[in-house]
């Protein structure tokens, strides 16, 4: 079915099509219309789910943790400070290996208050052990939400589906809604493991001792370090699962083909811009205009941020003379997190492109196409000089 709706409605529709069984969420701008839409679906009987209103985001994820432990498909969503309020449980959900799916409608983090878009919120959860997927369009939001359940349930690691607040969450765009039977087929055989079972009582996520111990049967039970090592190993194997989910989804719907990142005009590009989310679509226009002036540029939208697909990205990037990383987040006191990671990824290669970092759009600051054009064009002319200004803030107003 073809429709024109908001990004939040696209996400809610994906959650409905996945036949999610438990939803617990606390409203926060710009996520609110997503949870409102889900409560409407449940109230109207269009969705057979428990919708559990909670008093905070910490409780929202706690409810999902319990529901997922009992084998229910669970979903929550939040933004910015709400995400930070969940932080303890975000670590918990990953360590407990629960396949929860959460939409993070990206918004700047206070103080000072901002309800507008940047990526500082989900970036600040980078090291929690969740899978991070970024959608760049309304179509990608609904498709990614559906895929997220399959990915999470295959590897038993929770998934964050991130998309830009307002720019995607509140704007109306056309997209395809897959048929219910296709989604059912895609998710057939996928379900959260049922850990809590009255017929075999068990205490989950019990205190671990520094070293391993024999369990009731005399087998060696893993301790903290083994459990954490296993999370790391399974996360690195997740890349292949994300690719497989994309292939299967493509067979059913005809959409996809870019599970880890999406390249635009990169084949012969001498300079590549890379970023997360909807900014990549704006950069396509910049690339087109530079190409018409015979400057060979391209843009990569990174879809999978954790696990970081360094192995796959390096051969895309090391052919270029320069890589310009546009980021809506910062590791304060240093530089953009994606920039640091790409530098590290390219370190071992024989060819190292010049890397530059631009910080844009914090707290929803308008990102003009003219500014993006100037930044990329200047970098193409003299990358060595330009990169010395990393991280370069774009769009800052002069203050007296």
């Amino acid at each position: 079915m073809h429709c024109i709706e908001t990004g939040n409605t696209a996400a809610a529709t994906g959650v409905k099509l996945a036949r999610t069984q438990v939803i617990a969420a606390y409203p926060i701008t710009p996520q609110t219309p997503l949870t409102e839409k889900l409560s409407e679906f449940v109230a109207a009987g269009e969705m057979k789910a428990e919708y559990i209103p909670v008093e905070s985001e910490h409780s929202a994820l706690s409810v999902c943790i319990a529901a997922s432990s009992a084998g229910a498909r669970a979903f929550t969503a939040t933004s910015a400070n709400g995400l930070l309020y969940m932080h303890e449980q975000i670590h918990w959900a990953a360590g407990a290996r629960l396949p929860i799916v959460m939409c993070v409608v990206n918004r700047g983090v206070g103080a000072p208050w901002s309800v507008w878009n940047d990526h500082q919120d989900s970036m600040s959860q980078r090291d929690t052990g969740w899978i991070h997927l970024h959608a760049a369009s309304h179509q990608q939001i609904i498709d990614t939400v559906i895929q997220a359940f399959r990915i999470a349930e295959t590897v038993r690691i929770p998934v964050m589906v991130c998309y830009d607040g307002y720019l995607l969450s509140h704007t109306y765009m056309p997209y395809e809604v897959p048929d219910q039977d296709k989604v059912d087929r895609f998710l057939a055989g996928s379900a959260p493991a049922r850990l809590l079972d009255p017929s075999s009582p068990m205490n989950l996520n019990t205190v671990t001792l520094p070293n391993t111990r024999p369990d009731v049967r005399g087998d060696i039970a893993p301790a903290y370090m083994e459990i954490r090592h296993c999370l790391q190993q399974d996360l690195t194997r997740t890349t292949a699962v994300v690719e497989q989910a994309d292939r299967d989804y493509r067979d059913l719907t005809g959409r996809g083909g870019h599970p880890l990142y999406e390249c635009y005009r990169c084949e012969d590009a001498e300079f590549i811009a890379i970023c997360l989310g909807s900014l990549s679509r704006q950069l396509r226009g910049v690339v087109d205009s530079l190409r018409s002036a015979s400057v060979k540029t391209g843009v990569i939208a990174l879809r999978l941020y954790r696990p970081f697909p360094a192995e796959q990205l390096v051969p895309e990037l090391d052919k270029a003379r320069g890589v310009l990383v546009f980021e809506k987040a910062l590791s304060y006191g240093y530089e953009g997190p994606l920039f640091s990671e790409l530098k590290a990824a390219l370190y071992h290669g024989s060819r190292r492109p010049v890397l530059h970092n631009c910080i844009v759009g914090l707290g929803g600051r308008t990102i003009t196409t003219a500014d993006l054009h100037t930044a990329l064009a200047d970098f193409c002319v003299d990358p060595e000089t330009v990169r010395k200004a990393s991280p370069q803030w774009i769009g800052l107003a002069p203050l007296k």
């Binding site: 360590g95 407990a96 290996r97 295959t154 590897v155 038993r156 850990l195 075999s200 009582p201 068990m202 205490n203 989950l204 996520n205 019990t206 205190v207 671990t208 001792l209 111990r213 024999p214 369990d215 009731v216 039970a221 893993p222 301790a223 903290y224 083994e226 459990i227 296993c230 190993q233 399974d234 194997r237």
Partner: protein
């Protein structure tokens, strides 16, 4: 907690002795029973057993007199607190005169 492709380790425990490790090694004080005060020991009847009921680690036997498994008794003192006959005293391990810690 395993599937063939992904190790998916988590920590969990099931009912049974010792699934929290050798908790006997945590003990600073140990419960010592005075059979002269203990109700079932005094009467020879199956009665009371509040210590058995309250022990969080299930290491007290429902016997006359009740016994302790010092391999897992963590020395929390709940049994001594709950005993209605003051029959259990917590004694510092260093003063218990018993060299065995069970571990």
């Amino acid at each position: 907690m395993k599937n063939d492709k992904f190790a998916i380790n988590i920590s969990h425990s099931e009912p049974g002795p010792g699934d929290a490790g050798q908790t006997g090694s945590w003990r600073v004080e140990r419960p010592v029973l005075d059979a002269a005060k203990c109700i079932p020991a005094k009467t020879g009847k199956e009665s009371c057993f509040l210590c058995w009921m309250y022990c969080p680690d299930g290491v007290i036997s429902r016997t006359i007199p009740p016994g302790f498994d010092f391999q897992y008794c963590k020395g929390c003192g709940i049994c001594a607190e709950e005993c209605p006959a003051d029959a259990i005293t917590m004694v510092r391990e260093t003063e218990s005169g018993d060299e065995t810690t069970g571990c």
